[in-house]
């Protein structure tokens, strides 16, 4: 019984992290059909920005927790937005109208470039900004403990998910985005300024990726390479949930999160495969992912 509770709690915590990471990716892919391999780098940028700003704050004698949190969120969002803007305007824009495949390689090239840029700026020493994580303590449930910070992360991802869902489903901009997701050409024909929407979408997606990194930074030790580790997991969740669907990303994250937690607690040997196995299984039964829309075949 204890194990089941542990699986549920751990699964939920991991799923919320997965969702935060995958949300930006699915929005970008859905709207722009760009498989952004550099999403991992944006995650890492957010992590570095948060970790270094928190580290600086505490080293210069600050001790107000709320300021640390504000720095965490603020720096991550700002750096994500700026990076996203530069990437989209500067480089990706040159590639529209070309083969989608080339876009993938462009983002891969950006990943390589950003990896080294981050290394040049922040160095290779691990950044260890644990103060916000430690400060939120833990809650004991008998033998099990849950850290307060992780509960906060769950809350953040719920909030982010709700805002995203509301924005996409209920606002006018959201509807426009959904129409672009469904059919870009027709939307353009209807007078939508697709290019401006693209920039906005990319900036938002990039910021989401950076926030995911920023929020994760106090838990981990930020080192070069954390971006690359995250990409495959994010893609797997996005594909499982269906591209372009926020609900899909959330449900996909939940399924993967619970499966992984179950595997770690009961069958640890499967841990390495579980995420791919889940994805493959989902795709076998629903070839477009859980909530993906089958695209119309053009004849």
């Amino acid at each position: 019984m204890l194990t089941i509770w542990a699986i549920l709690i751990d699964g939920l915590i991991y799923a919320s992290w997965l969702f935060l990471v995958a949300a930006g990716l699915t929005v970008i892919y859905g709207v722009m059909r760009i498989l952004n391999m550099a999403h991992g780098s944006l995650y890492a940028l957010g992590a570095y920005a948060s970790a270094s700003s928190i580290g600086w704050y505490y080293a210069s004698g600050g001790d107000q927790l709320w300021i640390a949190f504000a720095l965490l969120a603020g720096c991550a969002i700002v750096i994500g937005a700026i990076a996203g803007f530069i990437m989209e305007r500067g480089i990706l824009r040159l590639m529209y109208g070309r083969d989608e495949v080339l876009m993938l390689i462009v983002t891969f090239a950006l990943l390589l470039i950003l990896e080294d840029l981050m290394k040049l700026v922040w160095g290779t020493t691990p950044y260890f900004a644990y103060q916000p994580y430690a400060a939120l303590g833990r809650f004991n449930f008998g033998v099990l403990t849950v850290s307060g910070y992780q509960i906060m992360v769950v809350g953040v991802s719920v909030v982010v998910g709700t805002i995203l869902w509301f924005w996409l489903e209920r606002t006018r901009t959201g509807k426009i985005l959904r129409s672009i997701i469904h059919d870009r050409e027709v939307s353009e024909a209807m007078g939508v300024n697709v290019r401006r929407m693209f920039t906005m979408t990319f900036v938002i997606g990039a910021s989401l990726g950076a926030i995911a990194g920023g929020v994760t930074a106090p838990i981990i030790s930020v080192v070069p390479g954390i971006g690359v580790e995250v990409i495959v997991v994010a893609f797997a969740v996005v594909v499982t949930g269906g591209l372009g669907s926020i609900t899909g990303a959330a449900i996909g994250a939940l399924i993967v999160g619970l499966a992984r937690a179950a595997s770690i607690h009961t069958m640890p040997e499967l841990e390495l495969f579980i995420i791919y196995a889940v994805m493959a299984l989902v795709l076998i039964f629903r070839p477009n992912g859980l909530f993906g829309q089958a695209t119309a075949r053009k004849i």
Partner: protein
């Protein structure tokens, strides 16, 4: 929509010419090869992680240590017996290569170092896979090579009759046998042991050696769990929950670098480290970084007498001061180990009896079975036919206070003959048979 980006004809011609020139010059460069070391210099290739997750805790500190030591060697400012300028009088010149990319790439880069850049010796290799792949190539190319850090016990058992390949560091077996001895001496009453290792060869080998050693030294131990998260996973929430449900008294971990720091911080906040004591076989690399995140009493090791475990001698004092002066932090164990490898090179060169630049054969025969002084005390190349270093293993408890900083308490050491199998014994068999011929006094 979208402006056309088709290159105009003149652009195409320019690009075409540029690309052809690039390819041609690449080919010419290739045939010409890099210039050999200038007369009067000894060129050493250094291979260590400059990118990726291992660069922060290991690769870059090692590269920095190399900088410090090479500078001192060339100026002749090392303490005795290394106070002569250069190696055998030759100035030491270094070429640094990133160890990233996997063993196949490293084999390629090793060949480039030796055949294209014409280095006279190679020092490096943190990753066991790279050591295993490169060692046969070193023998094939007959180049004096020192592995300074890689920890696989398979290295010399799988290398037939080595002549040119040496290792000045210790392997995972020594780490984990030492850890078991330390637990037996300092925590004799514990019975429930868990582990968390990164899921790859190093983690698997470490846990295996530790389990086997504990079964010999503390037979009543119950192994309640072993978690194997992916390397570079960073966030161990679920693993910590699983460990907590099994209620261990000791948590053994061979995790390193950012993963280790993250695990310690997370386990501490979650309360796992209130219930259990962590044994971190590579913990010394976090000695100056943990601050109050690692609880007092956490058991850490430095893979031998390195970093904070360096004994007091002229060389270690000099090295700590010089390294901290140049790089701002005290040296951790990877830095000490790189210094040791460079000292081994200098020892081999100075004592080779050569006029001018010693050959690979002279260097190899000098270092084989040699005994030399290092930052870690006396090093005896006594194992694997004289190619593997034999040194004591150290473990200690980590304590921290904001006023005095980090310190080690209750440090114990175990002689090399106690933690490493003698030649001819397979490591796992040696442990299972109860450490025959071990000398722990």
């Amino acid at each position: 929509m979208g402006h056309s980006l088709q290159p105009k004809p003149w652009q195409r011609t320019l690009l075409g010419t540029a690309t052809s020139l690039a390819i041609a010059s690449g080919g010419i460069m290739g045939f010409a090869g890099s210039a050999s070391a200038q007369e009067g210099t000894f060129k050493v290739g250094l291979v260590t992680f400059l990118s990726g997750g291992a660069s922060g805790p290991f690769g870059v500190p090692a590269a920095q240590a190399a900088e410090t030591v090479i500078k001192a060697i060339n100026e002749g400012t090392l303490p005795a017996p290394y106070n002569t300028k250069g190696v055998n009088g030759l100035q030491l010149e270094s070429v640094v290569i990133d160890e990233a990319g996997g063993p196949t790439k490293q084999v390629e880069e090793y060949r480039n170092l030796v055949q294209r850049q014409n280095v006279d010796a190679v020092i490096g290799y943190i990753s066991s896979g790279d050591c295993l792949a490169v060692s046969p190539v070193a023998e094939e190319l007959k180049t004096f090579t020192i592995a300074f850090d890689c920890g696989t016990p398979r290295l010399f058992p799988e290398l037939e009759s080595p002549k040119y390949f040496f290792r000045t560091g210790l392997d995972a077996t020594a780490d984990n046998v030492g850890a078991a001895h330390y637990l037996k001496e300092t925590r004799p009453d514990i019975t429930r042991v868990a582990g968390i290792q990164q899921n790859y060869a190093w983690g698997q080998d470490s846990w295996n050696d530790f389990q086997l050693s504990m079964k010999q030294l503390m037979p009543g131990t119950e192994f309640v769990d072993n978690q194997t998260p992916q390397i570079f996973q960073g966030s161990y929430g679920t693993e910590i929950s699983a460990l907590q449900t099994s209620r261990p008294e000791i948590v053994h971990s061979s995790m390193w670098g950012g993963d280790m720091e993250a695990f310690v911080a997370q386990a501490n906040v979650r309360g796992l480290l209130d219930q259990a004591t962590a044994v971190l076989t590579t913990g010394e690399s976090g000695f100056n970084r943990f601050k109050d995140q690692a609880p007092d009493g956490t058991i850490i090791g430095g893979r031998g007498p390195f970093g904070a475990f360096m004994p007091d001698n002229d060389l270690s004092e000099w090295f700590s001061k010089a390294y901290e002066a140049q790089h701002g932090v005290p040296p951790s164990y990877p830095s000490s180990k790189m210094a040791q490898a460079l000292l081994a090179l200098k020892y081999a060169a100075d004592n080779s009896g050569a006029e001018g630049k010693p050959s690979d054969e002279q260097l190899a025969s000098t270092l084989k079975s040699a005994t030399f002084e290092s930052v870690s005390g006396t090093v005896r190349m006594a194992l694997s036919g004289g190619h593997q270093a034999l040194q004591p293993m150290y473990y200690g408890e980590y304590h921290y206070s904001p006023e005095t900083g980090p310190e080690l308490r209750n440090v114990r050491s175990y002689t090399g003959a106690c933690v490493s199998p003698p030649d001819g014994h397979d490591a796992q068999e040696w442990i299972k048979n109860g450490f025959p011929e071990a000398n722990c006094n």
